[in-house]
Amino acid sequence: MTDVSAVDANSATANDAGEADERLAYRSIFQRLFIRPEIGAIIGAIGVWTFFWAVSLNFGTTGGTQNWLDSASTLGIMAVAVSMLMIGGEFDLSSGANTGAMGILFILLIRETGELGGLGASIWIAVPLSFAFAMAVGFFNGWMVEKTALPSFIVTLATFFILKGAKLGLAKLIVGQISVTFTNDAHGYAFWQRIFAAEWERNSHVWNGRDLFYIGMFLVGTILITLSVCEMHFVRRSEPKPAGLGLFGLGMAGFVASIVLFHTTDGVGANFVAAAVLAVSVVVAMVGFGQWRYEPVAAAGGLRLNAGITNYLVAGLVSIGIAVACAFAIDSANSETLFFPFTVQGLRAVLIMVFVGVGFMLAMVAANRALSVNPITKGAVSTVIAAALAGFAFVVRASSEAAKFRTELFSVLLLCALALFAWAVLGTRFEERRRTDASADRLGTRGLLLGVALLVFAVIIRHLFVTDAELEAGVNPAKFSVRMLWFFGFTAVMVWILGNTRFGSWTFAVGGNKEASRQVGVPAARTKTQLFMIVSGAAWLVGMLLAFRLNSLQASAGDGEEFEFIIAAVVGGTLLTGGYGTALGGAIGAAIMAMSAVGIASARWNSDWRFVFLGVILLLAVISNRAIRDRADSARR
């Protein structure tokens, strides 16, 4: 090593300049995922979904999904818009009342004149006219905030009262009551009804090939995600070894065979065979893939445990053990109420989940620590955890009554164990990447996104169609409203705008440091006004969705919901002080809130508890968001 002194000299001068010692360390794919602002919300959403899936009968069914997605849609459209406004450093307290106001305005515009009251305008005029009015309200909010330089809290509070009063006053003045309705025989009604309130009835769309398609999509998606994560995690070989592809093909063949075996045979023995084939072939395929593309590990080392590792591992295993004991000790069929809100079986489920969750996390800490020793140790610890997880899966299967636990949870747990084991094996064989590789990251990111999209698509297809077998068994009807499409579309557009356009960049800038952005030439006033107009436009969209759903609206519709929008945005990781957050986070926050509202109802608890739940979620979200942001922020301090 001749150039050691040179390197030292370099770093010494660089240290004098106060720069090189502050360089970023390489972040692995997992670390990068964990500092995204939405990550807290995503984990929270999975947690809340799992919780209600476990404690309520029909939350996880298509009917339940349709229920919470439906209420997430209107809430989510507003939450996404409000998130953007909050990133821009402002609040809009009139957004809730605005949704109802736009719907009422629209109805009053198209109602017949005469005895019924109203203006009798054509629906074709009323739709753009009410939209123009929404833009005007948004512009007014933004303009007032900019001109008066008052906090937007105060200005939009005034707008809120104006809208709330005008809604009531106009409704009473024109219709004579606080509920306004319209008839569906107007010209153009059918067209606009399809746009804002079309419905998809699941039970009239039969597709017997659905499950095959679902499983196929699901598997392709999972494989894509797995390989993409590998691509972003390991060091690429300078010269690929095509021999590995043979092994990969062999593994994939076994994989497909095992899936076919699962599907065509029934019976415990055959299932075990299939599961074993599946496990072996997954590992074989991944190792083959790795040999083709990635550098073999330089120094695997030998098994070296230290107290830091074993303590955590043992603690984790003990915790999982306690969960197993609970599973067998408490009667799973006993649905007596022990103390509110727990039945005996509910308490059992919660105890099991908590102990397993804690145990798993402790064990993962051990695995993480083992990583700093050497790859073999990490592999060994991970294998132990995978085995514990697999064991727990069988405990769940043996001790549970409900089909969802016996089959769904069982399979998911087994697959997780398998994934963990396969990852452990790969880690002992291939070199982990410790520096940036832009081309690998790009490829990996694309693959990852495509994989996630396929999974989402698979789930959507599964919910949209019904099979003959299900119909015979008497499955509940489910109707999906087009408002969900509006929700997804609006979110996608806003995510794109925020991340990729100048307007998006300026939104972050005016929220983060308004004076600074003005100094460098960002049109701060215009950006903020446009943000207010986006919120008002979203309120108009929601107003249309509400009006066309029931052909009638209460004058109080939407009042007071503005805080739910703000809560959803905060739960989604948006900073109350502005300058940080995402649009996607707002959508996920809305999903969490809708899930908790629907979940509590479907778990047959008093729906008032929803607010307690909301409060707890909000508190957790704020705390965890702050932790995530601090980590992202202080990466170099």
Partner: protein, 266 residues
């Protein structure tokens, strides 16, 4: 002779009502030179740069750019005339990434029909290159500006001003919040910007920072100009004297000596 100066300030005054913030300040600024504006707190330094940056307008006096009389009515005016200001608070958004801050307000875009979006790869590339020219190797332009050190932030701001075609670069107290080493880094950047042909106006209250890099010194005290000197006409001690208002500092020194001599500060 007047025509060869890049920027010429003649008898600039600024009144806020009956308060005289700046009175009769004149100096010249040349390309490839550092003009230091020195003064204690309240000397009128901020007013002076705000007039140059177009934030405020002078009440009296003229500004000539390349010999032509100009009036800056807004920061945008000054910016388009090639006068870029790096403020003390840096005009940066701490939670935004380096490249977004670098291009803030002037992002390069791609277009497809009515859709226009930021050309991220170009932006990141340029930001990285421009920072490299300043001698800073930013490894990850995605990193938030808030995580950079003070000296690095100044460097981003200076590199940005240079890239966007500034002819005159005004630096407002760039070293005041920095430690000794970091100040050294910034002073080096100032010299580099000067060597690239920019006219630099360096505002500071620290003569030790100004003297090594400056070609010309404008000294302000209580809103009055104490004169504009070329480097060869003045020493660092004279500079310090003038800044504090000469006689006042001497009187203060006597007082201090007397106080410590008696050992009784009361």
């Amino acid at each position: 002779m007047a025509d060869q100066h890049l920027l010429e300030l003649d008898n600039i005054s600024k009144f806020y009502g009956n308060i005289i913030a700046l009175k009769g300040v004149s100096t010249v600024v040349n390309a490839g030179e550092v003009t230091c504006v020195l003064g204690d707190n309240g000397a009128g330094k901020s007013t002076f740069i705000k007039i140059l940056a177009g934030v405020h307008q002078q009440s009296e006096g003229t500004i000539r750019l390349n010999g032509e009389e100009v009036m800056f009515n807004s920061p945008r005016d000054a910016l388009s005339a090639g006068i870029a200001t790096v403020y003390q608070d840096l005009a940066m958004v701490p939670l935004m990434s380096v490249w977004r801050n670098f291009f803030l307000g002037a992002e390069p875009t791609k277009r497809l029909g009515p859709f226009k979006w930021i050309d991220q790869s170009t932006a990141k590339q340029i930001a990285k290159e421009e920072m490299a020219k300043m001698g800073i190797d930013i490894r990850d332009t995605e990193q938030a500006v808030g995580t950079l050190s003070g000296g690095e932030r100044q460097s981003v701001a200076i590199a940005r001003a240079g890239y966007f075609g500034a002819k005159v670069l005004i630096l407002d107290e760039p070293t005041s919040a920095l430690g000794v080493k970091q100040s050294g880094v910034v002073l080096k950047r100032i010299v580099e910007a000067r060597n690239q042909g920019l006219a630099v106006i360096f505002i500071t209250h620290n003569p030790r920072h100004a003297y090594p890099v400056g070609n010309r010194f404008l000294i302000l005290n209580r809103g009055q100009s104490m004169g504009s000197f070329a480097k060869e006409d003045i020493t660092i001690d004279e500079l310090t004297q003038l800044m504090a208002g000469g006689a006042e500092l001497e009187a203060l020194e006597h007082e201090l000596a007397a106080a410590t001599g008696n050992g009784n500060g009361d």
